[in-house]
């Protein structure tokens, strides 16, 4: 039993819904109680979809339990077929129906519908949303994919696998990557699951290779296709300038093309903006990164190599991808934080006192509460993650978007210097946020809940006063460092001297 305040992922059938809702002509019959219909609003309200998800819920009640919930399922499936005339159907159970063990797969089979019916086994008490999406997509591909028709395969053809409904910027990422691939002279055979029909899934084996955009949702299917249809797949996720260049090189190799032209043609403003002298102030900014594995690892690389930040924390809630995240963290000399406990992440952020948090909507809350700037890099999604404007994360345009959205929450360079010089100016007080963020956009950093206990005597009043002159966005760090410095040296009372000794010590 796990105590949960907020969850990063829904249950696995939500993952299945993300696949079903992404596709055309597929219907999902879900054995579930009425409350589970809340899931529709994720798609209609958060993603602002203009149609209901193609999901029929049996909505059984307590009084049905003694009777025939199985019959209820069969009626619901038969009615759903008659009404929606889907080209294929997936059937399964949510957490409650899993306990009553009605076997939706067997029941649906008994109906002998004239379409493929794919049963899903998604263990709700064990797995979560992304796993459910990956498993569902894999089962659909496995259930529908047909052997290649012609003997000839166009070596310059690929499928794009992974984009789903309710994905973090999936629609824009897809547009960006299609443009990139087509620019290289590669034909996109099928995109799935987003906007794919069951017939499209059948044609997946016709392409020469697969581009796996989001390993969280498509790696399982990709591996199966690799084994069964000899379709190699990409391993680089093109988020960031360097990763996009690596992706181009990898794709070019798979398609037997020369990558140079594409590398020359494509370009991002990020490298020059990052070199521009006004970006000097970004140097060594301490960032904390948390998200799904793909976006967290990509963010770590961009932060370090493309913006010159210092990554002080890296973690993910995707347990399925804990290994690569651990490795990535190790390369940065860090220990990865693998958890889906929001409180643990909050404690870590409070401890590290980063200058920028790159995370999910949950970390946005944490950062707001603790007074740190933050940019959102990953699902779980919020209505704000579906902006009206084009804003991919992938490809060269994605790198531009990332540069803007990560730098925006920070103080501008010269502004930061002025703040240091005139720290007593009444407008540069604790509550003053970066001028372009308007009033009240940032709060003072709270003293971390679990900071090192100060030396016995604590802070002398003048030292405490001097500390208040340190700009608020580095004050937490200054406090923490000074206290650690004092504790290590057995200094009982922190004076102004101690404060500056510590500053000198840590700036070496």
């Amino acid at each position: 039993m796990q105590l949960t305040l907020w969850t990063y992922e829904g249950p696995p059938h939500i993952g299945a819904m993300r696949i079903a809702t992404a596709m055309d002509g597929l219907h999902y019959v879900l054995h579930a109680p009425q409350g589970d219909t809340y899931a529709d609003l994720l798609f209609t309200m958060i993603e602002r979809r203009n149609a209901r998800p193609p999901v029929t819920y049996t909505t059984f009640q307590a009084r049905d339990l003694g009777g025939d919930t199985a019959e209820l399922f069969k009626t619901a499936a038969a009615d759903a077929y008659a009404r929606f005339k889907p080209k294929a159907m997936i059937v399964g159970a949510s957490c409650t129906a899993e306990l009553i063990q009605d076997d939706p797969g067997g029941l649906a089979k008994a109906l002998a519908l004239p379409i493929p019916v794919i049963p899903l086994e998604l263990p709700s008490y064990q797995k979560k949303e992304n796993w459910g999406a990956a498993e569902t997509f894999y089962q659909i591909v496995r259930g529908l994919a047909q052997p290649r028709r012609g003997a000839e395969v166009n070596p310059r053809s690929c499928n794009i696998l992974g984009p789903t409904a309710l994905g973090f910027r999936h629609r824009d990422d897809l547009a960006e990557i299609v443009k990139l691939l087509e620019g290289m002279g590669i034909a996109v055979n099928v995109v799935a699951p987003l906007d794919a029909t069951p017939d499209d899934i059948r044609r997946i084996p016709d392409a020469a290779f697969n581009v796996v955009l989001y390993p969280e949702t498509a790696e399982t299917a990709g591996r199966w296709l690799e084994r069964n249809f000899k379709q190699p797949m990409t391993s680089v996720v093109p988020i960031g300038v360097s990763a996009t260049r690596d992706f181009i090189a990898q794709v070019a190799k798979l398609a037997g093309l020369d990558a140079d032209a594409a590398l020359k043609a494509g370009g991002s403003r990020l490298p020059w903006y990052s070199r521009s002298v006004d970006s000097t102030y970004l140097t060594g900014k301490r960032v904390f990164i948390f998200g799904d594995a793909t976006h967290a690892m990509a963010a770590a690389r961009i932060a370090r190599e493309e913006l010159g930040f210092e990554v002080v924390g890296l973690g993910t809630y995707s347990r399925e991808f804990a290994r690569p995240v651990r490795e990535a963290a190790q390369k940065l000399g860090l220990e990865a934080l693998i958890t889906d406990d929001y409180l643990e992440v909050e404690a870590k952020v409070a401890e590290l006192q980063p200058e920028l948090v790159l995370g999910t909507q949950m970390e946005r809350h944490i950062a707001k509460k603790l007074g740190f700037p933050c940019a959102v890099i990953s699902a779980p999604v919020h209505v704000q993650d579906f902006p009206a404007r084009y804003s991919p994360q992938m490809g060269f345009e994605g790198a531009n978007v990332i540069f803007d959205s990560w730098v925006h929450p920070l103080m501008m360079g010269l502004e930061e210097h002025l703040l240091h010089m005139f720290r007593n100016d009444f407008e540069f007080n604790d509550k003053a946020a970066a001028s372009h963020l308007g009033h009240g956009a940032a709060k003072p950093a709270a003293a971390p809940a679990n900071s090192t206990p100060p030396a016995q005597g604590g802070w002398a009043p003048e030292a405490e006063k001097e500390l208040q002159k340190v700009p608020f966005f580095v004050r937490g760090k200054a406090r923490r460092n000074t206290e650690r410095f004092a504790t290590e040296r057995g200094i009982n009372l922190i004076t102004i001297e101690t404060l500056y000794d510590a500053k000198a010590h840590y700036s070496r």
Partner: protein
Amino acid sequence: MNLPFRAPSSGGCNDIPILRERGQREVFCGLTGIVWLHRKIQDAFFLVVGSRTCAHLIQSAAGVMIFAEPRFATAIIDERDLAGLSEIDAELDRVVNRLLERRPDIKMLFLVGSCPSEVIKLDLKRAAARLSQTHSPKVRVLNYSGSGIETTFTQGEDACLAALVPFSPLPANGYVPPLLVAGALSDVAEDQFRRIFADMGLSDVGFLPARTAGTMPAIAPGTRYLLAQPFLNDTARALDERGAIHIPAPFPLGAEGTTGWFRAATDAFGISESKLRAATEAGHIRARLAMEPQREMLAGKRIFFFPDSQLEIPLARFVSQELGMEPVEVGTPYLQRAHLAQEIGQLPAGTMVSEGQDVEKQLDRCRAAKPDLVVCGLGLANPLEAEGFTTKWSIELVFTPIHGYEQAGDLARLFSRPLDRRTRLGV
């Protein structure tokens, strides 16, 4: 000005056609009530014992936008718990102990049952008694079910209040306020009601739930109670069991509903008409004034209610009687006839009331009826808008203060704003 006070019409509901349906229901489960109950009872914590789905439901219904650490959480049952029941009790104790350690401010803890906990027959009543013993007197532990197999949306509040009733105190001096109002109201409406009751000479009124665990109202045989919400069947039954006496009344929505509600109280306590008028007249007139512009926009417009909160029938009464709208179909998840008699009696003759739901068939009826405004849940609103309908999300009617005179204009505006918006947009 001639006061438009009306005696409640005696019309029964026999002339109202009722369609009973059984099919896919598109409504939340009772867990959703936690979203407003945890704000109402300020030192209570709601611990759902359920699945990841339950946690995700509350999070999605609440929006991720609650900044403070919320006073609700889910103890997510996992595989290991399902393996053997003896272990699950110990697990629950561990989770509760950890929680209460973290939140020393909590005075009342609700263990909230869910579908999974019901299906595996986890005895939360016993768990609550056990944990209450461990943690009393600091924390009282109660339980109720918000499961989707047993409760629909607002029935969660009903179950929660019904669980509170047996524990309401009987003060040592034996004094109990003569009147109790049951049903969670916004604080602002509650305060207004208190003032009006005081003006009528009822200066001591209990409100269930109170804002803190320690101030729950006393109940004794003979306590009279008014319902502020139409969905409190079990709560009413629990109150009856303690000897309290129900005062039949309409619900305090709009000018007429609110006056009718207060009139029921004055009738029950033998308070004079002039005292009722003195206490309510100004509010009644203000409410009508505030609704006037909305009435102009809404009169004659046809409205269709999908079932959601059980507020549908009082709301349909309100929009037809006070705003001149024409209800086409009024869907409700359950029809609690006993408490709604006065409201049903005032619906226009021939209004179709539907109980239960088959969402696909109801959508077909809605499309065929082409109403001017559709009141429906969040899952249906945008898809219907995309089909060209104007919609109002029903959940806002539950999350917004709508009771009483001073909120009547706001309530009317909830219905007019979507139509107003349509006329403004040029895209």
